[in-house]
């Protein structure tokens, strides 16, 4: 019999005992729903973690530090070799790194202590310069106020805890001004390579308040409680820790950077950039390995969630076996008639297979929809809770196309396996006995 005819007969047969078959299909649907809901949570959490970490720039970033060598160091061999000049992490180095293939941007990490004057009161804190690209890090999602309008704008974003020090009503700070007092490095003109420290003031306009401190991994601006555009931070020429090292090294005719952050196009380029930077004589570090470990963790989590959820589907398969065995008893005579009319054992077997498959397919579709709804409900409940905690909402479940196809396909395959025994039993029925059955 052709598949289309077989499917028509199967659907007709299933409609005949609509209640029982619907309940069996519902059992499959519940099994698939639990599977899809569990896996959608696993996928959703993985996507959430990945997107947050990717946005944070931790995994597509190489952190560059000055040469690890301060003059000559190492063992006897190193001591005996002629000293090579130490490469400075200065503007020339920054330009050279930015010209490497697959590099998006290179920016220095500028942090310095300051005293904020607000409402005629002093507040000591740390200023951090931030590139405009940090807006995509996710740390500024749902912030109160706005992000920097440009790299050279005299604007400041306050970290919430620092803002609380300035005023109990933190929201009222947006739109107001503050001034910072910092130590500016001024190069001496006597050619000694030394510099003098001069106190300076800078007025900044408060444009926003951020809930969490933006993180940028190793040596990042996690400690900054007053954030300003990187362009403004550079223009201030504020004295930093590495300035003292420059003097020790014999005087620097131009300022160097404590470290540089290199953003690359994708995580796939991190290794090559890291190697290139090391070849230039600088230290380089990335967190790519941590990302790989994270993927393995979520794979294992998905597997465990899937295994637990599959138990529900396994129970549902027993329902299919039961329904089809009952159908054989009820339709014994019909099987006899079909055989008398020329149906081969294979036709009967395939007919029951198709019936099991149709139940699996329908249960799979219903289960995917149900699983998606459960995922949405969990996301909704989570977001209600987060909102009450005054935290931004998250998407904790995700049903990608592969999960839809997997859910339906798995239900069909499991149903077919469940149909193996009943189909085989139906096919083996003796037509003479079956025709006598009342």
């Amino acid at each position: 019999m052709k598949l289309r005819d077989m499917a028509e007969l199967a659907v007709r047969n299933l409609r005949e005992s609509i209640l029982r078959n619907s309940l069996t299909t519902l059992g499959v649907a519940v099994g698939v729903a639990s599977l899809v809901a569990m896996l959608s949570l696993g996928v959703g959490l993985q996507q959430l973690a990945s997107s947050r970490l990717t946005k944070s720039g931790l995994f597509d970033t190489v952190f560059v530090s000055p040469s690890p060598r301060l003059g000559v160091r190492g063992g006897a061999a190193a001591a005996s070799s002629p000293p090579t000049p130490v490469r400075l992490l200065d503007e020339d180095a920054r330009q050279e790194i930015s010209k490497l293939p697959n590099v998006i941007e290179v920016f220095p990490q500028i942090r310095f202590p300051t005293e904020v004057r607000f409402d005629d009161k002093p507040f000591p804190t740390v200023v951090a310069g931030m590139p405009l690209s940090s807006k995509l890090s996710g740390a500024f999602d749902g912030m109160n106020g706005n992000f920097f309008s440009s790299e050279s704008a005299d604007e400041a974003i306050l970290q919430i805890e620092f803002a609380k020090e300035l005023s109990a009503d933190t929201k009222s700070l947006v739109g107001k001004s503050l001034s910072i007092r910092y130590a500016e490095r001024q190069q001496l003109e006597d050619g000694s390579g030394g510099f003098s420290i001069v106190p300076k003031d800078k007025k900044l306009h408060i444009i926003g308040i951020v809930e969490t401190e933006p993180a940028s991994g190793f040596g990042g601006f996690g400690n900054g409680r007053l954030l300003i555009p990187i362009g403004v931070a550079q223009s201030l020429r504020a004295a930093q820790v590495n300035d003292l090292r420059d003097v020790v090294r014999g005087g620097a005719s131009k300022p160097t950077y404590a470290s540089l952050t290199v953003r690359v196009k994708s995580t796939a380029n991190v290794d090559e950039i890291e190697a290139s930077v090391k070849k230039m004589g600088f230290g380089a570090f990335s967190l790519l390995d941590a990302s790989k470990s994270l993927k393995i963790f979520f794979r294992v989590l998905d597997l465990l969630l899937g295994l637990f959820a599959s138990l529900a589907l396994a129970v549902a398969t027993l329902g299919i076996v039961n329904t089809l065995v009952m159908a054989i008893l009820e339709r014994r005579r019909e099987i006899g008639v079909l055989k008398a009319l020329g149906a081969a054992d294979g036709d009967i077997k395939r007919l029951f297979f198709v019936e099991a498959g149709v139940m699996g397919f329908a249960g799979g579709i219903a289960g995917v929809i149900l699983g998606w709804l459960i995922g949405r409900a969990l996301t909704l409940a989570t977001n209600i809770y987060l909102k009450r905690q005054e935290l931004p909402g998250v998407e904790i479940s995700s049903v990608p196309l592969w999960l839809v196809l997997f859910g339906i396909g798995f239900a069909v395959v499991v149903s077919l396996v469940a149909g193996l025994y009943p189909a085989s039993r139906a096919a083996k029925l003796d037509p003479v006995q079956a025709l006598r059955y009342e």
């Binding site: 019999m1 020329g342 149906a343 036709d347 003479v432 025709l435």
Partner: protein
């Protein structure tokens, strides 16, 4: 039209069918040899338990003999595989049962179409052949009805249409009038006669009603205790 008697349609050579029921051996068919020519209308007559239905099932390929050979269409049914036996039932024979055996959830047209589905006949041709078969049994206007909406006679006519739709060479009928009143039974027998005449079909019918057999069949084979007791043409048969 008088049917033409042709070459052998089916030949049984020392066919036996034994069952074991616990410790008891039952010889349902015991060493039966019978030759049926094409176009014959053979009535297998016998009391209940005489083995006539078992013999019919063996000839219809629904059962296999314990010993002996059943030649049909140049093949020994006893040696055919399960799949080939199904093909034989699908393409060579048609079957009519005492209890009609129509599928209750299907309409008459769908019931009649069933053998064509099994034979994988194209849909367009199926519709034509179903219409022809229902017209032959004069039920073309009831095509969309379900069996429960029909009388016993109409249901049996539908079963005959279903048996004919694949254009078989042999029609096996197991007590086709057993569930019908005598008038309706006669009309069914007349329909079988008409089919035999117009299509030249071989008919083998099991019955326990001697008058009916003698009135409509061309040959009478009497069974008793699994054996063929008598076999001969009926004088003055139609």
């Amino acid at each position: 039209m008088t049917p033409t008697i042709g070459p052998l349609a089916i030949q049984l050579d020392r066919v036996s069918r034994h069952y074991t029921l616990g410790a008891t051996a039952i010889r349902a068919v015991d060493d039966v040899s019978l030759s049926i020519a094409g176009g014959e209308f053979v009535a297998l007559l016998g009391s209940s338990g005489s083995g006539k239905s078992t013999l019919l099932n063996l000839m219809a390929g629904l059962d296999r003999p314990t010993s002996g050979a059943i030649q049909a269409g140049g093949k020994n049914l006893a040696e055919l595989s399960s799949l080939d036996l199904a093909r034989y039932r699908r393409n060579t024979i048609g079957m009519v049962f005492q209890s009609f055996n129509l599928l209750p959830r299907m309409t008459l047209a769908e019931n009649v179409e069933l053998p064509l589905r099994l034979a994988e006949v194209d849909r367009a041709e199926r519709a034509t052949r179903v219409a022809e078969a229902l017209e032959r049994v004069k039920l073309e206007k009831r095509a969309g009805h379900r069996p429960a909406e029909l009388s016993g006679g109409e249901q049996q006519r539908t079963a005959i249409a279903r048996a004919l739709v694949n254009r078989p060479k042999i029609l096996f009928a197991d007590e086709p009038t057993g569930n019908l009143d005598s008038a309706t039974g006669e009309s069914i027998m007349n329909l079988l006669l008409e089919i035999r005449s117009s299509l030249g079909m071989t008919i083998v019918m099991v019955t326990h009603e001697r008058p009916l057999a003698e009135k409509f069949a061309s040959r009478l084979a009497v069974m008793g205790d699994g054996k063929l007791l008598r076999d001969g043409a009926i004088a003055g048969a139609k």
